[in-house]
Every structure is written in C-alpha cells, then in structure tokens.
Subunit: 404 residues, 2 copies
Amino acid sequence: MSSTKLTGKAVVGQSGGPTAVINQSLVGVIEEARRQKQITGLLGARHGVRGIINEDFLDLSGLSQSTLEAVAVTPSSALGSTRDKPDRNYCQKIFEAFQKNDVRYFFYIGGNDSADTANIVHQVANEENYDLRVFHIPKTIDNDLRVTDHCPGYGSAAKFVAQALMGDDLDNRSLKGVKIDVIMGRHAGFLTAATILARQHADAGPHLIYVPEAVFDEAKFITDVDRVMKKLGRCIIAVSEGIHDAAGTPITAKMASLHEKDAHGNIQLSGTGALGDFLAELIRSRLGTVEKKLRVRADTFGYLQRSFVGVYSEVDAREARLVGQMAVRHATNDNTDGSVALKRLGNDGSYGVETFVTSLASVARATKSLPAEYLVPDGNDIDESYRSYVAPLVGKLPTVGYLY
Amino acid sequence: MSSTKLTGKAVVGQSGGPTAVINQSLVGVIEEARRQKQITGLLGARHGVRGIINEDFLDLSGLSQSTLEAVAVTPSSALGSTRDKPDRNYCQKIFEAFQKNDVRYFFYIGGNDSADTANIVHQVANEENYDLRVFHIPKTIDNDLRVTDHCPGYGSAAKFVAQALMGDDLDNRSLKGVKIDVIMGRHAGFLTAATILARQHADAGPHLIYVPEAVFDEAKFITDVDRVMKKLGRCIIAVSEGIHDAAGTPITAKMASLHEKDAHGNIQLSGTGALGDFLAELIRSRLGTVEKKLRVRADTFGYLQRSFVGVYSEVDAREARLVGQMAVRHATNDNTDGSVALKRLGNDGSYGVETFVTSLASVARATKSLPAEYLVPDGNDIDESYRSYVAPLVGKLPTVGYLY
C-alpha cells in the first residue's frame, strides 16, 4: 500500500457472463469517481481487458444522470464483456496501457477470474514500482465468490428462476407430467437452490432439486421421479447444468462420449438443451410404457436467467450499486487495494449489509460451493433453511392465487 | 336460438395450453355470473371437458374478491386444463352431464379446438331439444383464432418474448456470437413476429426472423447469418418451432427422421431444445472453421413464455377479463350462443377494443396465419408495419440504456 494518495485517471471494465445488475456497479463507479477529485478522468474499457490492451476506451465523464439511471437498470454489460482470461504476459500489456495513459485506478467488475486478473495486474505494477490502486468489484449469478456473504447479480438471477419455477409449477398443475428445468451452475448450486422459493403452496414444486454439490445417480434419479409421480401425478425437477456422477464426471460429458460414439460430430454442451433432453429421454424410457406414454418436458433457462429485461431484485440492484461506489471510495480515501465484499447484518428477520475490503488474492481463482448444511442426505433436494439465506436477496415475489 | 331466457346452472372450463391471463377470463366469467340472476350456480370443471364427464366440479360461488383478484393475476389455468379433443361421442357425454346437473350455460375458455368442442356440444343439445347457451371464450398465445382481431393471451406472451429478446440482444452485444432463440408457434408466426418489438437501438436484434408462414431453406439461412455476422460481428435469430422447408416438411420432422435412422428411440420434438441445437450445429459446421471457432448458442423459451409469473401485458389482462364477462352477458341478456371476438378501434395512434359475438363454427377447427402483408420477400424478417399491430397489445416495455 502506498502512503501517498494517488492522482490520475481511472479505468473501469466489466468481464465474464453478464448479470441483471452489473451496470448498477458500473454506474456506482461512475458516480463515485466524479465525487473524488483525485480521479482526473474515467475511461470505460470496451469488452474488459481486451479494451485495455487495445486502448479501446469510452470517456465516461460527460454522461447525464438520466443516461446513467437508464444504463443502471439495463441488464448485461454496457461496456461490453470478454471471456479472455489474461495470463501474466497479458497482464503485463494491461499494465503498459495503464502506464502509457497515466492510469492510477483500475476497477474491474467480474467474478473470480476477474479478481485474478486484477491481482496479477496489481503485482506487476508493484514490481515495476508504479503506483496503481486496483479494486475488484464482485458480480456473478453463480454466487460462488469466496469471502463475501453473497454476490451482486445472484439475487436477480435467483428471482428470475424463482418466478420461472412458480409459473412452471402452475403450468404443470394444469397439464400434469414430468417437467425438468435446467438452470445455470457448472460447479455451484446456489442458483438452482433458489428454486425452493417457488414453493408457495402445499404441493408446489420443485419437487426434486439436483445440484453439483451432490452426486447425481441415474438410477436414484429415476426412483425419485417415480416416487413423486406416484404421490402427486406430476413432478417438477430443478437441475444444475453441472450435475455429475460419483466419479465426478459431468452428466453432459457422458452424453458427449455417447454422441461421439455415434459419430455425429461435436455436440455443444453449454448454451444448449442437450442435458434437459437427455434427462427427459431417460425418464421417458425408464418410466413410460408403450401403453401409457409419460408426458415429459424439459426447458433450459439459458441466457434468460442472466439477461431478461425487467426482472431484477431491488435489493440486488442496490447492493450492486453500493459495491461499485465503495470500491472507488476505498481506493481513493483509504488508498488501498482489494475486493469489496458484503457482510450480512441482522439475524432477527431484519436484513441489511455492510461492505468490507478483502484482499484480491482471497477472491481470485478458487470459488465457493453451496455449503453442505443446505444439502439433504438423499441429494435430491435443498434444505428448507436455505430459504432464510436466499429470500432477502430476492425480495418480494409476485403473489399467486389458487382455486384448490 | 331460444326465445325464452334460460334459468339454471353454469359450467365454466379451461382448455389447452395455459396463458398468463387465462384466469382473468375465468374471473370475468365468475364476476359476471354472480350478477346474472338467471345463473343459479357456477361450477368450475376441473381439467376442462374431462372434469365435466367425470363430474369433477368446483363450486365457484363463494369465493372472496381477494381470492378472485389473486387468481386473476396468476398465470396458467386455475381450474386445470386438458389436451383432450372430444369427438362427437365425448360431446354426447358432456351433454349428458349437463342435463343431469341442470346446466343451462356452458362457458369454455380455449383455442380453436375448444371452440369446436363447444360447437358440437351445442349441436347435440339442439338435437336433443335441450335449451343450453354455449359460449367459447378465446385464449391462445399463438394468436391464431379466426375472426377476432387478436387473442387474449397473445399480448402477454408477446411481451415476454420481446423482453427476452431485448435482454438477449444486450447479452449478445456484450459477448458477441450467433444466438438462436426458438419461440412457440407450430403453424402461426405471430409470437415470433412480436420479437421485432425488441429492436430499440440501431443495431439491436433480432437480426433475422423465421416464421412458419415463410419457407425455411437451410442454405439461405446460412447465407443470411453469414451476411449479418460480416456486418455486425454478431447475430440474433428468432425462429418459430414450426419452420418448414419448401415441401412443407417441418425442420423438426427432418431431424426426427435422422434420429430414427440412428435407432436411438423416439425423439421428443416439442418441449425440447432439439431444434435450437440442430440449427446451432448447422451454423457451426458451415460457418465455423477449426482455426476460427464460432460462438453459437441456442435457447428454447419453452413454457416460460406462457407461464412466467409476474410478466404480463396490462392491456391483455384487461381484455381477457372483458371477454369472460361479455360471454356471460351475451348468453344471459341476449340469450345467444357464440364466441366473443375483439374488434380494434382507433386508427390515429389511439387504441381500444370492443367485443362482438361470432358464431362458434366461425372460430372452430381452422386457424389463422400471420397475414402475408407482414412477411418480407426474403422470408427472413417481419415487416416493420407489424409493430403497429402488436405494440398496443403488449403495452409499455422496460426502458434500457446504452453507452455506445
């Protein structure tokens, strides 16, 4: 940490998969940067780190408040995003672009990979004796960042999947059958776990929930579905895209090897309906008969859960704005580096947060899984206690009515 | 038409795929039936016609206004739905259940098949000299009923897909590539056509739109995508599930025959991601190279577009309530039978509707396609004039902001 407060330009960028509120964080940075005299100009890097090394910057200083507020409520990354995962050589180039443009503040909104990039850029600057304040600003619908209680972006995606499952359950009550909903989450089941919020009625689904933190066993799965069908005559299933077998092999990978044997060429495994269709066919073939065809459908929520316009959590939006603002405040006022994390306040039903700074290294690279306390022994559901963790992040859900 | 006004019980049922506002029509029937003294009791048939022949009725007379309003804003069919398509024999059984229960009014909320059922039941009653007033109440997200200007249920589904495409376009601006969105519509492209409402910015998608009313040619499709990619570096494609080739063969059917040759058992063609995945693979194999992998993703909106909780068009909700009310009013006050249709009023930018009665036969069985005036010669887009047809049905969409 440098002892003198730095004066110079700031660069802000957005990285990785978009969220419904990632632009709230961007607007938080823009607003706060304007208030801080040490920041002499604010450049937006288009498409994250790629915009930095290509010096593809937008001047963010002259925007009107109405533009800022319109951007804030717009999902996806207004500056553009990137999937580039910089190595040390790439980070060296980022640093050189900063040096060349007299950049003294770097704010990077993203997940664990973005924190890693920020961390390496920070190390390079240190080695070169170049004073640079670096802040990572958390975002991810996966909610898998370490240290922080939860991640901005998660609450809104959780709200989307909760509303989707509420609707899907009503649909399935009306026309009965088995319905599979595939939800984003390669390694962490937080988003899929949020579907328990859809249970607002005695027989409401999801009736079965499978996350990557539990082993997915096909035979057990069929038994589970059969049991629910015998009890209710219908079954709603929420499943993470990253479910895997006891050996740790993702079910999608097993499908790929099957398909390769068929010599049908490459099968895309993300951004497709393949897993849902595979599970639907599994149920159909094991539980359906020629005489009694089973109605089985699968939907894969895809990008809707991270980018749908008009559905977001107000709490999430507020917190996303806050972490952007606080990153600038800590970098300028406290002259420090790090990542902004959220601490949950209130245990008596009230809810609030405060922010704190954690080191870049503490959130870089590795991620967090759904804690074991929220899993059930059978691996086919989420413990009801998860509701008190997730409900405040989502806020009020629409009310629905029933006739029976 | 009988000359004396009938006194007796009424039965109401819901049929076919749910919509976001089908319960508004149900509540409209309940409210209005209470006002009409000739209706001595209102029975809700659970799961449509099946609930009638099984005499599985809910008494709808004692419900509180708060329950009614909660049900009204709840998507999917609160009474339950059915896919049963009654033949004449089945309709005879419906009639017998009515006769047995002194039912003099029958209100059936559904699409063209439901209108057909209502029509046959009406004919059977006439033949048996049993006085029965029968009304069909229109609903369908497909918007494919004849006579009426548009169908209750369509505006809300159109709003969902418009908001989804707005978000998807923002996502794709942020992380560029080809994105395919598969939208409901086996024979009619109205819902897919509504995606043009997502174009709220110079380069906003969908950049290509394919509906069942135009021939889908794979080679042409690839050329279209290639052209957009060369121009914008990204491409959003909206496609109806029912697209077909020049011979009229659905693309999904062609896929099925491929799969059957693989002897992999039955491939489900609706409620799956198969069409999107097929088109994505087509683009990837034709336009991608080993050196330059193309980012291609596909989402199939599935049931979300008809049952998502919390997103509906207020205009659509109001009109859905209205057609339910008017069916009861016409049946009791005018002592007539038929289907309630909507006539659009106002040509100077204002919008309004009035209802009128059309015969059951005029909406039964056959459906309507997207008029040719809304198609473009190339078959890869929807004419901009469609906006003035669809925008009033959807109402205000969320506003989004851009930085560039």
